[in-house]
Symmetry: C2
């Protein structure tokens, strides 16, 4: 398994879908119905249903995002990913903010799922 | 398993050892001899020997570190951790820098090891 290639393809596919309001809900297929965990700014959500509902309620439409670094490491049956970058929402006057996001993407019954997703804005870190 | 408690105890123990030059090499016991991977600013190291050698060659003695957030998620046999914070080395005139570090800590033969460690300074993200 080429973990770098899988990881890079995952990151592109995920943010391409997530950053457009029209396609954001399609990321639901990338989360496992029961096993996936999202920690978003400290709030915890479990299962693709709860995770996608959280995403749907976010107070912005499209996101403009620049990835600074994506680091990948192999794990048994999957890839660990740490992404750093900057984003801005489409709200007027919104500031550019740094973010850090960790994904653990793993094979479950021959399908890759985001089993773990931890997201934090870097607003308090600089 | 209380993943929050294990994760928080791990983070404290790890940085307490790492941040003092005199105790830094003791983190070698927390990495697996062959399976652990470190990605440090994009450079990859495998096994506790190579990882601790990298740490020993870092160009500073003690580190002053503040943790802003530590997020924990359970994984089979372990904990996924994303840490954000700020650090400064003891070099004169050194700047305070943000960092993001992801750990995957997992049980191997009844011992917890850092199997995955990804570190990035946030210097290009803000």
């Amino acid at each position: 398994m080429d973990f770098q290639k899988i990881g890079a393809a995952f990151v592109k596919q995920y943010y391409d879908l997530f950053d457009q309001k029209d396609t954001r809900s399609q990321t639901s297929n990338m989360y496992h119905p029961t096993e996936s965990c999202l920690t978003f700014e400290g709030q915890q959500f479990q299962g693709s249903g709860a995770i996608v509902e959280k995403h749907a309620n976010m107070p912005f439409a499209n996101l403009y995002r620049v990835i600074t670094t994506s680091d990948f490491q192999p794990i048994p049956g999957g890839v660990l990913i740490q992404v750093l970058g900057q984003l801005r929402t489409d709200s007027e006057n919104d500031k550019i903010m740094g973010f850090s996001q960790t994904f653990l993407v793993r094979d479950v019954d021959n399908n890759f799922f985001i089993l773990n997703d931890i997201f934090r804005l870097l607003i308090h870190n600089v």
